[in-house]
């Protein structure tokens, strides 16, 4: 939950340092642009991976987001917040990528196997949980998935999600509600409980 709170703060208030970095990057400073990438790469890559469920395609999408940011730096107004722009660009790009190709289910599981800290039992449990949730996310419609990823995984508020995805707040609330119920039913069915 702490992560969610920090993300919300990041979303609503961009620090002055980021604005000066944007100004320097607009003037052609590549080092400043690399600092911007460093600052936001985790958010962009994580959202892309959760929306696409495929690390390879997620990396491509995240890369494309930053390249588009660089291409549009000249038009970008530094007084505007960068995080919402990046979130929106990531969601839109992933939406297009998913529409163009078949979704790959539960491919984002390799990091659990590479995690040397976990013992085999823990790794297997984590792997099963990740597989379960990745498969549950695939049950959602694209818009429900985007709303759930931004609200429940990124910790944005419903109002912020509505601003990013551009439907009304009521529509976003409905997507979130339907998505949570679908995930609950999927998880309970896999766990052998009555949905």
């Amino acid at each position: 939950m702490e992560m969610a709170v920090s993300l919300m703060c990041q979303f609503t208030a961009e620090p002055e340092s980021i604005r000066s970095l944007i100004l320097e990057a607009k003037a052609g400073d590549l080092a400043a642009f690399e600092q911007i990438v460093t600052r936001y790469e985790r958010i962009v890559f994580r959202v892309a991976r959760r929306l696409l469920a495929d690390p390879e395609r997620a990396r491509d999408a995240a890369q494309e987001v930053f390249l588009r940011l660089h291409g549009k730096l000249g038009k970008f107004q530094e007084e505007k917040d960068l995080a919402p722009w990046l979130y929106r660009m990531t969601v839109n790009l992933c939406h297009d990528l998913r529409r163009r190709s078949k979704p790959s289910v539960a491919l984002d599981l390799a990091p659990a196997l590479r995690d040397a800290v976990l013992d085999p039992e823990q790794a297997m449990e984590l792997l099963q949980r990740q597989e379960l949730i990745a498969a549950a996310l695939e049950e959602l419609s694209p818009r429900e998935r985007e709303a759930i990823v931004l609200r429940d995984l990124e910790g944005l508020s419903t109002a912020d999600v509505a601003r990013l995805l551009r439907p009304s707040e009521g529509t976003v609330r409905s997507q979130i509600s339907t998505g949570r119920v679908k995930i609950k039913r999927f998880v309970m069915a896999r766990l052998g409980r009555r949905p």
Partner: protein, 189 residues
């Protein structure tokens, strides 16, 4: 609230996405309703799994992403304001040229004789004669005289010359000379 709360409302309640008054009503009901408590427990479990199961990207993955991004930025496009600077430079050159042209034009207007060759006289044609200026003399206006009716005619004959009939009018300034043709001569008595 006696009726069960629908699952979709509970799905919003479980993470505090309901308005305050609705949240209070659901809280009151779920405190007393075991069925709703069961649904809420399942929703909480699935939300917990959703939040905590997916891994964060590793540092190595992020470094690879950053390296790929920076490697794909074209060198010529590093300065996103480059085209602005080029445009400003071109505009400056054009303005300088315009200012030079305007300045030179003004100089030509100030020194037209010095720059234009003086046209010499044509080599073949004689120089034009100065125009004859007739001195304007004062002409006294003659008062108009009244012409009296009546004429006086005199035949002037000279040897070897044609005959003339001189007719004096009432106006002393008007004398009519009529040359008499041969066929007009009449025998004088």
């Amino acid at each position: 609230m006696s009726a069960h709360v629908c699952e979709e409302i509970l799905a919003l309640y479980v993470r505090g996405d309901l308005p305050e008054d609705e949240w209070q009503r659901v809280a009151q009901h779920s405190d007393e309703c075991q069925e709703c408590q069961k649904i809420l427990a399942d929703l909480s479990l699935s939300c917990e799994l959703l939040t905590n199961s997916l891994k964060e990207p590793t540092l190595a993955e992020l470094a690879a992403l950053r390296s790929a991004v920076m490697g794909k930025i074209p060198v010529g496009a590093t300065d996103s304001r480059g085209w602005v600077r080029m445009f400003a430079a071109a505009a400056g050159i054009v303005l300088l040229c315009l200012a030079t042209l305007i300045w030179r034009g003004e100089r030509e207007e100030l020194l037209p004789v010095a720059r234009l060759p003086r046209p010499g006289p044509p080599a073949v044609m004689p120089p034009p004669e100065p125009p004859i200026v007739t001195p304007r003399t004062h002409v006294a206006r003659v008062p108009r005289q009244r012409i009296e009716p009546g004429m006086r005619a005199t035949l002037i004959t000279r040897a070897g010359q044609p005959d003339y009939l001189k007719m004096n009018t009432s106006d002393p300034n008007v004398v009519i000379l009529w040359q008499v043709q041969e066929n007009e001569k009449v025998a004088t008595p």
